[in-house]
């Protein structure tokens, strides 16, 4: 978002001051995140509707998810939010090495999350829990259990896509981080990306209880 800052001068020609540039970048990122919330919102609305219509089927289907892997991934993502925050701090205080290390840590934790997610997806394929012609589920209400898995793949898939995009951007940020591209005066891109990363983390904080935890104890 604040890419305009790059070039010979890190104040873009159409801004009057660094303050104006920073405020614009921050407001732009928050506005984008509002859009993202509504983007996920469609799936959350579908989930709420179907969960309230078919609670039994959803409970049964939810039981087939591995709560330990989900909890592990939750911890991993919260950890990555910490490293991301520290990376931004490194930019604010002008410590390129801290920024680099913390971004690398964020990238590794994000990749761990995606690897665990891949294991979970593979498990769904082996148990024929993937919606489609070969779907099979032992339970009271298989068609609506299939709906649960559609939502499971839709919501976690869209979330994972955001993780992949985030990880790709992170990989491209490592070299500039080491070069000291983000200074206390202008670290708008770093901070904007940090907001994005925390947002993706926060989506998972909602997904985990909705998909894994509700109706668990019986």
């Amino acid at each position: 978002m604040a890419h305009d800052a790059h070039g010979p001068s890190d104040l873009a020609h159409h801004f009057d001051s660094y303050e104006q540039q920073k405020e614009s970048a921050t407001l732009g990122m928050w506005t984008f995140l509002v859009t993202e919330i509504l983007f996920f919102g469609g799936l959350f609305a579908a989930y709420s509707l179907y969960r309230s219509l078919y609670p039994e089927a959803f409970r049964a289907a939810s039981h087939s998810l591995d709560i330990r892997l989900g909890a592990f991934n939750t911890a991993v993502l919260i950890g990555s939010s910490l490293t991301m925050a520290l990376a931004v701090r490194g930019g604010q205080t002008g410590k390129p090495k801290t920024t680099f290390t913390m971004l690398l840590g964020t990238l590794l934790l994000g990749s761990t999350f995606l690897a665990v997610k891949a294991v979970e997806y593979a498990d769904k394929f082996t148990h024929h829990h993937v919606p489609g012609p070969s779907f099979h589920f032992e339970g009271p209400d298989a068609p609506h259990a299939q709906l649960f898995f559609s939502l499971y793949f839709g919501m976690t898939g869209l979330h994972a896509l955001h993780m992949v995009i985030g990880a790709a951007i992170l990989a491209f940020m490592l070299r500039p981080a080491l070069r000291g591209a983000w200074t206390p005066r202008n670290h708008n891109f770093l901070e904007g990306f940090g907001l994005y990363w925390h947002f993706v983390d926060l989506v998972w904080i909602f997904l985990f209880p909705l998909l894994y935890l509700i109706g668990r104890h019986h």
Partner: protein, 549 residues
């Protein structure tokens, strides 16, 4: 403004944004909001022409009760692609991406939008989305209606649903980025002294529009993804066989697509506020009411989507609530119409071309709005649902409203954009021809719909022929009306007389720089010391002022 602290610009600048650089690359790689606006102007016009061509074919087919030219499935594709091209690729980007893009930085005294690269990116996204849609068009198009209702779109049709879906998805992100850019620009880039209540109402209208683009568009984007997942991967969300509910799709679709109507009309209302004040030589009546009416429409617009689903199996209680809320939208809309009318009252009105379009807008929008209140009534809606009454209502808002506003705005700011004037006689004639052609086309459709002629059929009972022939004849007049500005605008770019910096003697920062403006918009950083529309102090422009003679 006589009290303006900003220096008066020299007439006829030697270098400006149009001749600052030459070559294709200087256009396709530009970050200048004014050039990007012109890129949009060209691409938006192409899609308008294509969508219009389909309207011509539809009206040709409907000139007689029998099927003459097209098989039913071809006709289905025609009206579907007409709707998709006109809504997603002309009306939604139309005023914001062309006029808004060009004018918002000028009106608020900024050098550019907050994110110039993202502005260019949004044009590329629009173009790529459009390319997908055109590619699908060449492969037969889509026949689901522009609404893509499930399970028709996911299970039954065998047309390019996915390709067009991808096209709309991508164009949607272009729309989101434009809205984002406007919001940040209006918040952060205003000139010193330009407080919120000194903003031109054009900017308020675009601010309200941007809110809808930010909040609504992502919802239709996810709905398209869900349709794609269901169609391609059998990951069901809407298909009853897979446990889903097709009405959920309608909820998600209309959650965006109803507010999208306000994306199309709010910028036009912003244009009309500028025109009515400038050509009545009066400050706008009740400025704050008009400004907040825009925000009110944007907010209420999100609470009325259910009125598209009165007969779709929605609960009767939901129907009642949506009916009442839909009628509430009439309040801020009426506030605007009354305030424009009150601005006209005892104003010294001049009948310049932009004003003719603006007056046309007010009349046609009022008819469109009042029939909208009729449609919000549950009983009437059940009677005229899916008939030509809906088509007529919708086109009174979209063509009579949005396109009249777009053309009025183009005529008003054309001297600023190009530095040239267009012929007075032909432009006034075009406003008249379009107004007459429009009414002859669409008023009979109100009657047809009320008599029960359903939409989306290529044949109809013979007793409806007279009104249909009227409608087709009107469409011919309307088409000629649209061709006229195309010809004289293009002509004026080369042969039109040069325009002065402020040919209408209007207020507003955009008129305080040269026509066309320099690359950086203003040679001096502008300062604002007065509220907008201080027309008492400003005499109307004579012909001499316009030509700078």
């Amino acid at each position: 403004m006589t009290t303006s602290p900003n220096p008066v610009p020299a007439e006829f600048p030697r270098t400006h944004y149009l001749n600052a650089a030459y070559g294709l690359k200087s256009w396709l790689w530009t970050r200048d909001h004014k050039r990007i606006a012109l890129l949009y102007l060209v691409s938006v016009s192409v899609f308008f022409a294509l969508g219009g061509l389909m309207a011509v074919l539809i009206r040709m087919e409907l000139a007689t009760p029998e099927g003459d030219f097209f098989q039913p499935d071809v006709y289905n594709r025609l009206f579907t692609m007409h709707g998709i091209l006109m809504i997603f690729f002309f009306l939604i980007p139309g005023i914001p991406a062309v006029l808004g893009n060009f004018l918002i930085p000028l009106m608020i005294g900024a050098k550019d939008l907050a994110f110039p690269r993202i502005n260019l990116l949004s044009w590329y996204l629009y173009t790529i989305g459009g390319a997908f849609t055109l590619w699908a068009l060449l492969h037969g198009g889509v026949d689901t209606g522009w609404t893509f209702y499930t399970p028709l779109s996911t299970n039954y049709v065998n047309t390019s649903v996915l390709t067009v879906g991808v096209g709309i998805f991508i164009a949607g992100f272009s729309s989101i980025l434009t809205g984002l850019n406007f919001i940040v620009t209006i918040h952060r880039m205003r000139a010193p002294g330009l407080t919120w209540f000194r903003l031109p109402l054009f900017v308020w209208g675009h601010y309200a529009t941007s809110i809808i683009q930010i909040l609504g568009t992502p919802v239709v984007a996810i709905a398209i993804l869900m349709v794609a997942a269901e169609r391609m991967l059998h990951i069901g969300f809407f298909d009853p066989k897979l446990g889903g509910d097709p009405v959920l799709f309608q909820h998600l679709f209309w959650f965006y697509s109803h507010p999208a109507v306000y994306i199309m009309i709010l910028p036009a209302m912003g244009v009309i506020s500028e025109l009515v004040a400038a050509f009545s030589r009066k400050p706008i009546f009740g400025y704050k009411f008009v400004a907040f009416a825009s925000i009110g429409i944007a907010v209420l617009g999100f609470l009325v989507w259910g009125h598209h689903m009165f007969v779709a199996g929605q609960s009767i209680y939901a129907g009642v609530v949506f009916s009442v809320l839909s009628m509430l939208v009439a309040v801020p809309s009426a506030v605007k119409v009354f305030n424009w009318t009150a601005t006209l009252y005892k104003g010294s009105i001049s009948w310049d071309t932009p004003m003719l379009y603006a007056l046309g807008f007010i009349g046609l929008f009022t008819i469109g709005g009042l029939t909208g209140v009729m449609l919000a009534t549950l009983g009437i809606d059940a009677h005229v649902h899916d008939t030509y009454f809906i088509i007529a209502h919708f086109h009174y808002i979209m063509v009579g409203g949005a396109i009249m506003g777009y053309l009025g705005g183009l005529h008003y700011w054309w001297p600023k954009i190009t530095g040239r004037l267009y012929p007075v006689f032909w432009s006034k004639l075009s406003a008249l021809v379009i107004f007459i052609g429009f009414n002859v086309t669409f008023f009979p459709q109100f009657i047809l719909g009320y008599l029960g002629m359903p939409r989306r059929y290529h044949t109809y009972p013979p007793e409806f022929q007279v009104l249909n022939v009227m409608s087709s004849a009107g469409a011919t007049i309307l088409g000629i009306g649209y061709l006229m500005p195309l010809i004289y605008f293009v002509w004026s770019m080369r042969y039109g007389p040069r325009a002065t910096a402020n040919p209408w003697n209007a207020t507003g920062l955009e008129w305080q720089t040269t026509s066309p403006p320099p690359v950086e918009n203003f040679t001096y950083p502008p300062v604002v010391t007065a509220p907008p529309y201080t027309y008492e102090a400003q005499p109307a422009a004579g012909k001499e002022a316009r030509l700078g003679a």
